[in-house]
């Protein structure tokens, strides 16, 4: 069985020549929950965009054994759901129902199948009663959950989430952790919040200056106070 994600020697430079990612090699198995941690500007979001085929550099990126190219892109985007940092960018339709239905409709599913996927996805994130609401009527926590529902309705095997804990209060953050830990999919999350990463991930990839600094067991890496401090991060409170 092919790995969920396999990246070999991937490098990418911004149009102005600044190196964003340098020689990234990463292999993620199905079912893993991986947190990509690092300071601001480390290249975390760019790495997620590379996994979804939005950033083209040198090296290889394989999603479920399929190399990212024009031919495989549609198949890859069906198996890898990509959730952006700002839910306002993710929720672009007039109602929540339409937004969650957008992906399944593009997959070519029939009306009843789409409805059932939308209902299930909204139920999973606890927004079943909000289907007819406009996204701008939702709170920050609800928007975040809705953004995840837009991905879940496509039933992907892999989900990438870019700083999903951003601008959430502790209650909403806890709700999000509960939701994400209940999902059976392979999860790849970027975050600057070490407590959030510790409560979710079993594996951590520490990225700084576009390079992988450390990759391995979440507890082992995040409890290394010297390593964390060296890269502008902190040890999670429950590991101190």
């Amino acid at each position: 069985m092919p790995k969920a994600i396999e990246i070999e020697n991937f490098s990418y430079k911004y149009p102005d020549g600044t190196a964003a990612l340098s020689d990234i090699s990463l292999s993620i198995e199905h079912g893993q929950r991986v947190a990509i941690i690092g300071p601001n500007g480390a290249g975390k979001s760019t790495l997620l965009l590379a996994m979804a085929g939005f950033v083209k550099g040198t090296g290889k990126v394989l999603i479920e054994g399929l190399e990212i190219n024009r031919k495989n892109l549609k198949k890859i985007r069906t198996s890898l759901g990509c959730c952006l940092e700002n839910p306002d960018d993710q929720l672009f339709m007039p109602t929540l129902f339409d937004d969650v239905a957008f992906g399944p409709l593009n997959m070519g599913l029939e009306g009843e199948q789409v409805k059932s996927r939308v209902t299930d996805a909204l139920k999973t994130v606890g927004l079943a009663e909000m289907a007819d609401k406009a996204p701008h009527h939702l709170s920050a926590g609800q928007k975040r959950a809705a953004a995840i529902a837009t991905i879940l309705s496509m039933a992907p095997k892999i989900i990438t989430l870019d700083e999903p804990d951003g601008s959430l209060d502790p209650r909403n953050r806890n709700n999000l952790v509960t939701l994400l830990t209940s999902l059976p999919q392979t999860l790849i999350i970027t975050t600057c919040d070490m407590n959030f990463a510790a409560s979710l991930a079993d594996r951590v990839v520490l990225l700084d200056d576009g390079r992988i600094i450390a990759d391995g067991d979440a507890k082992k890496i995040m409890s290394d106070s010297f390593l964390m401090a060296e890269h502008g991060l902190e040890v999670p409170t429950k590991m101190t």
């Binding site: 069906t78 109602t95 339409d98 957008f102 992906g103 409709l105 007819d132 996204p135 837009t150």
Partner: protein
């Protein structure tokens, strides 16, 4: 941030809210056409026409205070147009209303008729927007063979106008916290231009990210939608009542002015 949404009553429930958006939209288009085509001597008849949309608003439980606030918000453009009429047409004319009559000019008559038509058509438009969810309206328009590109753009406009308003508020707040004195018209204008430029760049960034979000969910430039609309007997009844109301007024009620 919470805004005074133009459609904040569209999520209520009433017989008018439950009507199909296509029926309401078609009635609105015909109603507007009939009102706009009324002659300039029909000021008093306009009051009769106002009965229709007011009845719709009352049945739908839309507060009239909210309605008139919305009309006031968009009135400046029409006010300028209407108030310019008395300036260029000063032909004297006598106006009678029952036993009363008074001298005026054609320009003033035009002015009041323009304002009257504006208020009556706005009552109908707010009636539609306040009783129809925007998503249903877009689906209805799509079913009425409106170009898909226009529907998509309307959808984005509705979705992102509030995000844009938020951004404007943020930029204005950032300026206000550092603005300790008036810097003079020229400098203020320069700052305003920079703020508009920043807003434009942010909007382009947002558009790029939305494009990513759309492509990530398999968008291939073909717009698919799931229609939940269904024309029922009550929709036909509503359209029939509206048509009889408009035709009755148009053919049987003559101007008294």
């Amino acid at each position: 941030m919470h805004h005074a949404y133009i459609d904040k009553f569209a999520y209520q429930d009433s017989p008018i809210h439950r009507l199909d958006s296509r029926a309401k939209f078609i009635v609105l288009v015909f109603f507007t056409a009939v009102v706009v085509s009324l002659p300039r001597t029909s000021l008093s008849i306009l009051f009769c026409y106002a009965v229709g949309p007011v009845a719709v608003l009352v049945i739908a439980k839309i507060p009239l205070r909210f309605v008139f606030k919305q009309i006031l918000l968009v009135s400046p453009f029409v006010l300028v147009l209407a108030l310019s009429c008395p300036l260029y047409d000063k032909t004297p004319v006598k106006v009678a209303f029952g036993p009363f009559f008074w001298p005026t000019t054609v320009g003033w008559m035009r002015c009041f008729v323009i304002l009257g038509k504006f208020v009556v058509t706005m009552l109908a438009l707010i009636g539609l927007v306040s009783t129809t969810r925007f998503g249903d309206l877009l689906t209805g328009l799509q079913k009425l063979w409106m170009p898909k590109l226009l529907i998509i753009q309307l959808g984005f406009l509705y979705r992102y106008i509030f995000v844009l308003i938020d951004k404007v508020h943020h930029i204005l707040r950032a300026r206000n916290v550092r603005r300790l004195k008036n810097l003079g018209f020229k400098r203020e204008l320069k700052i305003a231009a920079a703020m508009v430029g920043s807003l434009l760049i942010r909007s382009i960034d947002t558009a790029e990210r939305i494009n990513i979000a759309m492509q990530a969910r398999g968008f291939d430039r073909t717009w698919h939608s799931l229609s939940k609309l269904q024309i029922r007997r009550c929709d036909l009844l509503f359209a029939l009542i509206a048509i009889f109301f408009m035709l009755g007024l148009y053919f049987f009620v003559k101007p008294v002015l």
